[in-house]
C-alpha cells in the first residue's frame, strides 16, 4: 500500500492524534484524509449522495494539508454530513501548491452509519509535514 496512517497513543491526552505517510505528497494527503474520515465515522457505512468539489491554493504543502483537513471539518458541520471518500489531486506550480478534491458522503444518520468522534478542529499543536527521500509524512492533532 502506498499510504498508511496510525493513531498515536502518547500525545494529545484529551484529543486524538495521528501520523500519516505516503510515497508521494498526493498519497500523504489521501492517507491523512482517510485518518480524518475514519475519526468521524466508518466510511464503509456512509453512502455517497452528497458531493462537494474543493479547490485550494497555498504557499506550502503543510499549509495546504492543514486547510484541506479544516475544510472537511467545516463541511461536516455546515452540511451536517459524514464522508465516504475523497478524490484528491495535489499539484505544485512554481512556489504554490494546489489541491483539487471531490469530497463524497451523506447526511448524518445515526441509524445506518457507525459514527465516531465529532471533530471540532485541526490544531497546529505538534503539527508537522515533512519529506524524507520520496516518503512524505505528517503528524496531526485533532481537537474532539
Amino acid at each position: 500500500m502506498a499510504y498508511s496512517f496510525r493513531f498515536l497513543d502518547d500525545i494529545a491526552l484529551a484529543d486524538l492524534a495521528f501520523e500519516a505517510e505516503g510515497d508521494s505528497i498526493e498519497e500523504l494527503f489521501r492517507s491523512a484524509t482517510q485518518a480524518l474520515l475514519e475519526t468521524l465515522a466508518d466510511p464503509g457505512t456512509v453512502a455517497t449522495n452528497w458531493e462537494r468539489r474543493v479547490m485550494k491554493v497555498e504557499e506550502d504543502p503543510a499549509a495546504l494539508l492543514f486547510e484541506w483537513l479544516s475544510d472537511i471539518v467545516y463541511w461536516k458541520d455546515a452540511a451536517g454530513v459524514v464522508f465516504h471518500d475523497a478524490e484528491i489531486s495535489v499539484t505544485q506550480e512554481g512556489p504554490t501548491w494546489g489541491l483539487v478534491a471531490v469530497l463524497r458522503g451523506a447526511s448524518v444518520d445515526q441509524m445506518t452509519q457507525t459514527l465516531h468522534n465529532d471533530v471540532k478542529g485541526i490544531t497546529k499543536h505538534l503539527y508537522d509535514v515533512k519529506q524524507e527521500g520520496a516518503r512524505w509524512s505528517a503528524r496531526v492533532v485533532i481537537d474532539v
Binding site: L13, S70, V73, H125
Partner: protein, 483 residues
C-alpha cells in the same frame, strides 16, 4: 515517584506549589500549581511546560496558575488561569480554549430516585430523542443569519424571548446569560456556517447530559445545599456539559491565524505557536474579544435550549409541567472564557481555560439569591463516578483571581482508552451498576470511561482544603447521554 519535570517546584503549602521565574528564560512571574503531593506527581509533563510558557506572556500579573484537574492542553494547560493587565497585557485564544464558554449547567427537580427509577429507561430515551448528540447533529431551532446574530449578542436572553425557558433562569446564569461586548461583525462566515444549525446540541467528546441523584450522606454543607435548592432526599438533578460547538472552535481557529501574523507586527514572541496572542487593546485583540463573546453567548443559548428540551422530556414522561416538577436552574457557569475583572492590581483580563469562576459571598457578580453563600461552582466527574457542587470563596478572589477547578481531568489518552475498553461492555457494566447510558458512538463511549480520568474526589478535596472553593454536595449518576 518523581515529578514529570526537571524544573524546581517549591512547596508553598500542602496544596500550593511554585515554579520560580529562574526555571525558564523569559518567565515574567512565577507559576503556581494547586495540587496535593499525589496529584502533583500524577500531572503530565505538559502541565509544567505549559504553565511556565504562560508565565512568559507579556503583561501577565502575579502568577500563572494551574488547578488540580490540570493536564496538557493547546498552548495553555487545561486548568490554566492567567490574568493580564488590560493596558499592557495580551489576549490569547489558547488561554480560552477552542470550545469557547464550554461550561456546566445544573437543573434541580422535586423528583426523587424512587419516582424516577421505574421510568428511567423511558426518561433517558426521551432525553436522547430531544437533545441531539454526536457527529454532525443539528438542533430543532432553525435560524437565519439575522436570528443567529441575535443569538450571538443576546445569548440566553434571546432564548427566553423565543420561549425557550423562564425569565428567572437568567438570574441563575453567569453574566445573566448575555455578555455585552459581543459584535457579530467580527465573526467569519465560516464560523456562522458551522454554528447556525447547532443550537441545542450536545456534541461529543467529553460533553454529556447526566441524570444524577443527591443523597443525604453526600451533602457536606446542608445550609448551603438548601440555598441552592438541593434537598438531599435522594433528589434527582440534571447536569449538562457542553459549549459553543463548531462555532466557538472556528472563532478560535480564525483568530489564531490572525494573531500569528499580528504577533510579528507587535514584536511578540511566544514559546508555543498555540499561545498566539495580541495586545488586548489592539484592533486584533479587541476583535477577538468581541468574537469570543459572540461564541460565549451562543454557548449560553445552547445550554438554555437544551434545558428547554430537558424540561419538555421530564414533563412528557412524568405527566406534570416542568414548573410542577420544580425544575429550577441551580446555576450555569463557564469554564473556558476570558473576562475583564477588577482586582487590587486594577482591571485585569482573566483567562480561565478549564477553570471555573469562584467568587465569594457578597460579590456583586454573584446572583442575589446566593449573596450569602458565594457563587455556585459545578464540577463534572467522569460518567462512572460522581460530580460536585461547590461554592466560591473570598480566598479564591485573593489567591487565584476568583478561579477554581472545573472537572476531574484526564490521565489516559483517548487512543489508549479505546484500546483497553470496549464501549458495549462498558455500557453493560454501567447498567449493572445502576447507570443507564445512551450513546451515539460506542468508541466515543469507551474513550470516556472512568479509568481515563483522575479521581474527582481527590481534586475536589484539594480545592476545598486550599480554601479556594468549599464543597457542598456530591452528585451520583444514574443516567447519561453521550455523543
Amino acid at each position: 515517584m518523581t515529578l514529570k519535570t526537571e524544573m524546581q517546584v517549591n512547596r508553598i503549602t500542602n496544596e500550593v506549589w511554585e515554579i520560580p521565574v529562574t526555571e525558564k528564560p523569559g518567565m515574567v512571574v512565577p507559576a503556581r500549581i494547586y495540587a496535593t503531593p499525589a496529584i502533583l506527581h500524577s500531572m503530565d509533563r505538559g502541565v509544567f511546560d505549559q504553565v511556565t510558557n504562560v508565565a512568559c506572556l507579556p503583561g501577565i500579573t502575579r502568577h500563572a496558575l494551574c488547578m488540580p484537574d490540570g493536564h496538557w492542553g493547546y498552548g495553555f494547560p487545561i486548568g490554566g488561569v492567567a490574568a493580564f493587565d488590560v493596558a499592557t497585557g495580551v489576549i490569547s485564544p489558547g488561554g480560552v480554549g477552542y470550545d469557547v464558554n464550554c461550561g456546566m449547567r445544573l437543573i434541580r427537580t422535586d423528583l426523587t430516585l424512587e419516582d424516577v427509577q421505574p421510568k428511567l429507561d423511558r426518561l433517558m430515551t426521551e432525553l436522547f430523542r430531544r437533545v441531539p448528540a454526536g457527529v454532525g447533529a443539528s438542533g430543532f431551532v432553525r435560524l437565519n443569519r439575522d436570528a443567529f446574530d441575535s443569538v450571538m449578542t443576546r445569548g440566553a436572553r434571546w432564548c427566553i424571548e423565543e420561549g425557550y425557558g423562564w425569565h428567572r433562569d437568567l438570574a441563575r446564569i453567569e453574566e445573566g446569560g448575555c455578555i455585552a461586548a459581543a459584535d457579530p461583525s467580527t465573526v467569519s462566515d465560516h464560523a456562522v456556517g458551522r454554528g447556525i444549525n447547532q443550537l441545542g446540541t450536545l456534541g461529543s467528546g467529553n460533553h454529556y447530559l447526566e441524570v444524577q441523584v443527591v443523597s443525604n450522606d453526600r451533602i457536606f454543607d446542608s445550609e448551603t445545599a438548601a440555598a441552592l435548592g438541593l434537598t438531599g432526599q435522594d433528589q434527582i438533578v440534571v447536569m449538562v456539559h457542553c459549549g459553543s460547538r463548531g462555532f466557538g472552535h472556528q472563532v478560535a481557529s480564525d483568530y489564531l491565524k490572525i494573531f500569528e501574523k499580528a504577533m510579528r507586527r507587535y514584536g511578540i514572541t511566544v514559546k508555543d505557536q498555540q499561545l498566539a496572542c495580541a495586545p488586548f487593546r489592539s484592533p486584533e485583540g479587541q476583535d477577538y474579544f468581541a468574537a469570543m463573546n459572540c461564541a460565549a453567548n451562543t454557548a449560553f443559548a445552547n445550554r438554555q435550549v437544551i434545558t428547554h428540551q430537558i424540561r419538555a422530556a421530564f414533563a412528557h414522561v412524568f405527566g406534570l409541567s416542568a414548573e410542577e416538577l420544580g425544575m429550577e436552574l441551580v446555576y450555569d457557569v463557564a469554564h473556558n472564557i476570558a473576562k475583564v475583572e477588577r482586582y487590587p492590581e486594577g482591571e485585569l483580563l482573566v483567562h480561565r481555560k478549564g477553570s471555573t469562576r469562584a467568587f465569594g459571598p457578597g460579590s456583586p457578580d454573584v446572583p442575589r439569591d446566593f449573596q450569602k453563600i458565594g457563587q455556585p461552582v459545578i464540577c463534572g466527574g467522569s460518567m462512572e463516578t460522581g460530580s460536585y457542587v461547590l461554592v466560591g470563596t473570598d480566598r479564591a478572589v485573593q489567591e487565584t483571581f476568583g478561579s477554581t477547578m472545573h472537572g476531574a481531568g484526564r490521565t489516559m489518552s483517548r487512543a489508549q482508552a479505546k484500546k483497553s475498553i470496549r464501549g458495549e461492555q462498558l455500557q453493560q457494566d454501567m447498567k449493572r451498576r445502576g447507570i443507564l447510558v445512551k450513546a451515539v458512538s460506542m468508541s466515543g463511549l469507551a474513550e470516556e470511561a472512568g479509568v481515563a480520568y483522575k479521581n474527582i474526589s481527590e481534586v475536589v478535596d484539594t480545592v476545598d482544603r486550599a480554601g479556594i472553593t468549599k464543597k457542598v454536595a456530591e452528585l451520583r449518576p444514574i443516567g447519561n447521554i453521550k455523543g
